[in-house]
Amino acid sequence: MHTSDCLHIYSANVIVLGICCLSIQFLLLSLPEALITRIFSFLSIKDRLNARVNKKLNAIELESKYYVRSLAIGDLAEAVRRAQKSVHNVVLPNMYRNDQLVTLSPDCLYSSDFIRRITQNVTLGQLIVGFKTHVDKDVYRLLHEFDVDFIVLVFESNDLASSVITGSNLLLLVNSCKVLNVTHLGVVAPEDLLALYKKMESGTSKLKGVMMAITISVWKPFLALLGITFVDAKI
């Protein structure tokens, strides 16, 4: 560990403490960066962000990579409740038992810059995004900047999903996460599913699994594209 320069810092502090009023300011900021980073590693996202009270701490926070098991953006509870009503395949493992779940509330104004700021130094287990009344396309585009294993997109309705869940947008996510769970199919065509399937099948994509509500009207032509037809209960 790099502490060779500690001695000088501490001895300087001892002098400061000796001759002037007791101030802890110099002590926190003069800790080696590695130690401040260490302290940050014990903090939640919110605490970390609040601790950026000056330029130095802001820079240290940005430079230290950290892992968050679960991050939720949007009005999640409501979105999930509705989605579970209409679709049964919404799987959100452990999320409510997880003390590391961070919810970014939609009640306050937020900027996509802030989400971009998080993407710079966080690694995520799962990212849950709830789109309730409108879809922020900037937020959607930021999805692929996250380093994340599992992305869950919860839409209020298929109409809402249709504005971003298109074939080309879906393909943008193949290298973003390992598993993608989308509550609505949007306007994904059978050809788009085939393109997605090809990428996953070739093993070149990071994506290994997709969970989607696919209706028969899409399934059938998709299977036909693969050369599978189903007549009188026979393949």
């Binding site: 501490y10 590695a34 919810t103």
Partner: protein, 167 residues
Amino acid sequence: PNVKLVTSDNEEFVVDFRIAKMSVTVSRLMEAMNMSETDDASLLSNSIPLPNVTKAVMARVIEWCEKHKNDEPKEEKENDKRGRTTHVVSDWDKEFLKNDEFGRLCQLMGAANYLEIKGLFNDISQTIANMIHGKKSDEIAEMFNIHCDLTEAEKKEIRKKTAWCED
């Protein structure tokens, strides 16, 4: 068997070999100097210089080590390596660190880091993190008496961006 440790202000501490071994740094130095538990002469004729630790801080470190010398070594779980670091500070340790003013705590943290005494280092890291936890930016700045050198625009931006973040 006992080991002699010498601090930056030339104070000699004589501690049990087991206590000395709790510091990875001291362990390595003893090894480098061919000091062994079974070789009394090697322990008597050598002392370990610790130029990064003062007498006052060393006394605290040894007090902590005395209390923890019989602790079972903690197993690192594989899944603990990812995610937010968490550490449970025992009641005794809380009491031990309670009366340290912040400057003292930082010195102790620096010493625990230099000496590589993981348990103590984690105790202090968690204790300082607990001081920050749940506080707003201005409260943190006030607590640590940090002069904010951010511009008004930067401050506004940070406020705006953290406003909607809930734990």
